[in-house]
């Protein structure tokens, strides 16, 4: 309905949802992508899960689950390009075909016999852009499974030593811009066609540290590496993140949460917020993550194995109750990144990482109904108050001899004690959107 937002539709007890899939093929003559998306939604049997993770396994590690989309192929439309029935006949092969998924809610109004359909959120419903990549065999079930990978794959499929335009004043952001503008030497853009042929789909935060080792394509740092590996190393050196957004933009930015205020409020049992309503189905796990606690950060920034090649920041272990290393054990987070130009940068980076990992933080994994519009690193609030499982007397036994309060008898709190979150803030580090079950699973880390 006009005037209603995505929040209104997420909390509606009964709503209409949609999912659409599109492909963009490459012209067999020019090699360029066709200008319009071709919808293939009605041929899809299984949609799979859009799975995006950042920092969830290791800092600065952006991973994308292996999305597998199953299409029915009764008419041979998804055969390889040498089949006359194939969508790809007279187009380039299926590999690296662009693939887009739109999903969200929809609704309509009818006035004087004219029906108007609304897509929510606000017409911007792209949930994923990627490419077909890998083996895609058919079977006697008349179906084909497409392996879909995120657009990071186009950077993986390009040798770093083939990059043109490197010079002695290369910063991380300039390197990213160089990728944005990278050509084949004859004016044909190498990466940009996968990003809708526009520079605005590259969101690059400016950095100032110069990486002298990236001055030439013959640099040792580039040897035997692909472009994405260099992007990851630069992100690590800058304490930034590089990833692909839901709508297919390349983003290079700091690791802080995207917003300073919560982008969304999740409520489970015990939550009373009516604006966002109830969305949590289950909390699968919640608690502190000692496995992500480190009392030492050690960075090797020079390939020589000498003490001056390392920068270390640590909290000394002291045998006292307030000392984290004593409480949790001394754990070292090691980084080897020889792109880091000098000890000053290494020390600053080590300190930044130490600030982030030297405090033990809570992580939560929870499952919700369909919440399609959020982004990795979004800041969210969670309210959940589990009900007591073992019912006891309504009278709180602990208060019988309460010396502080004047009344001996009062009702126990109605909520439970096992899990109690009251508008607690987290940022997303992993999200899975199951398009077959219209269900989301998130992992979020305490802010």
């Amino acid at each position: 309905m006009p005037g209603q937002s995505i929040i209104d539709y997420i909390k509606k007890p009964h709503s209409r949802v949609f999912r659409r899939a599109y492909i963009k093929r490459r012209n067999i003559g020019t090699g360029a992508f066709e200008s319009s998306w071709v919808e293939i939604s009605k041929d899809i049997k299984k949609w799979g899960t859009i799975s995006t993770q950042l920092d969830s396994e290791r800092l600065n590690k952006f991973t994308f689950g292996n999305m597998r989309v199953v299409v029915q192929n009764d008419q041979g439309k998804y055969n390889p390009e040498d089949s006359e029935d194939s969508y790809w006949y007279n187009y380039m092969p299926q590999q690296r075909t662009l693939f887009k998924i739109e999903t969200g809610f929809f609704d309509f109004t009818t006035t004087s016999g004219v029906t108007q359909v609304f897509n929510i959120p606000n017409g911007v419903t792209t949930a994923f852009v990627g490419i077909f990549s890998g083996d895609m065999p058919g079977s006697d079930k008349n179906e084909i499974t497409f392996n879909v990978k995120p657009l990071t794959e186009v950077f993986r499929n390009y040798a770093a030593s083939n990059i043109r335009g490197l010079d002695g004043s290369m910063t991380a952001s300039r390197f990213m811009e160089l990728l944005r503008d990278q050509t084949d030497g004859s004016g044909g853009f190498v990466f940009r066609p996968f990003f809708d042929n526009t520079t605005t789909n590259f969101d690059i935060s400016t950095t100032t540290t110069q990486y002298l080792n990236l001055n030439t394509s013959t640099s040792e740092e580039l040897r035997e590496k692909n472009v994405w590996e260099i992007i990851e190393k630069l992100s690590e050196a800058e304490n930034h993140v590089s990833y692909i957004t839901r709508d297919g933009k390349f983003r290079f930015r700091s690791r802080s949460a995207l917003t300073t205020t919560a982008a969304y409020l999740f409520n489970g049992v015990g939550g009373t917020d009516n604006t966002y309503g109830q969305t949590i189905k289950t909390i699968n796990s919640y608690g502190k993550k000692p496995s992500k606690f480190y009392s030492r950060v050690q960075i090797q920034f020079n390939s020589l194995n000498t003490t001056t090649s390392y920068s270390t920041v640590q909290s000394a272990m002291v045998v006292e109750s307030a000392n984290a290393a004593w409480a949790l054990g001394e754990r070292t987070f090691s980084i080897s990144n020889t792109l880091i130009p000098n000890v000053t940068v290494a020390e600053a980076l080590a300190q930044n990482i130490f600030n982030d990992v030297s405090t033990i933080k809570n992580e939560i994994e929870f499952t919700t109904t369909f919440v399609p519009h959020l982004e990795i690193l979004d800041r969210v609030q969670i309210t959940y108050d589990s009900s007591p499982v073992l019912f006891r007397s309504l009278w709180d036994l602990n208060d019988w001899a309460d010396a502080t309060n004047s009344s001996d008898l009062y009702w126990d709190a109605s909520g439970g004690n096992a899990l109690k979150l009251n508008a607690k803030e987290f940022k997303f580090i992993s999200q899975n959107i199951d398009l077959d079950r219209f269900e989301c699973k998130f992992i979020a880390r305490e802010v």
Binding site: P13, S15, V114, F438
Partner: protein, 258 residues
Amino acid sequence: MEILYQNYFNTSTQAVVNSNTSTAQYLLTRDTYYQYVSSGFNNDLTQTTIRINFDATTSVSRIAILNTNAREMIIFRNGLTASTFALTTTSSTVTSSWVSNSASSMYLSFSAVDVTSVSFDIKSTIVANVEKAVAQIVISSVQINFSQLPSAKNYKPLIDTKQIVHELSDGGTRVHAVKDKYSHKVKLTNAPLTFQSQFKTLFEAHNPFMFCPFGTTTSWDAILYEAVWVGNFDFYTYSDDNANAGFTGNMDFRESPT
């Protein structure tokens, strides 16, 4: 109760409209909330034309127009406004020309006639001076006209909904509706051999078809969809244990993807 051939209008390039070309594709969509809507024709003095062209001369005998707000309208063939269709199921008119239509959906029956195009000239709307709107157009011909109808207990129409049901942490339920599809289970008894043969031909073709249980010009329930026959052909069973009493068989029709 009729089974038609697949919609002869099956690609948006067949449709020529005089405004808002991008929404002409919705004329093929069964979901009637997607409409072709004119642009700049929200005046009863202006006329919207929708023309469906065919590559070759095509014999048609059924036209369905769904979820429209047309009041004064004329449907004609081959680009000649005088070439209307002589309706066999008449209402306020005996030809496909209306001055004050009030039905939002119509299923028009007429004797087979060869056409190279079918045009819809919409001159005014039921609520005056709004954009002209049409959800779906079906142009086809009859494959099987049921010479006998199933009894009520042998006829199971259904809106088969695809939905996801979530149980939330507080015990509440949330439903996400993905799509509603029609399905019909029909059982016929005492079907004569000629009738049985028609169904056998339909089954063996293994093609989709249009199914319309009760098509009428007025007060139509607007149930018309592209269906597939799911399961077996079992019209070999004699009815009433009598080889001369005809055949008994079951059909399971389900809507195709859109």
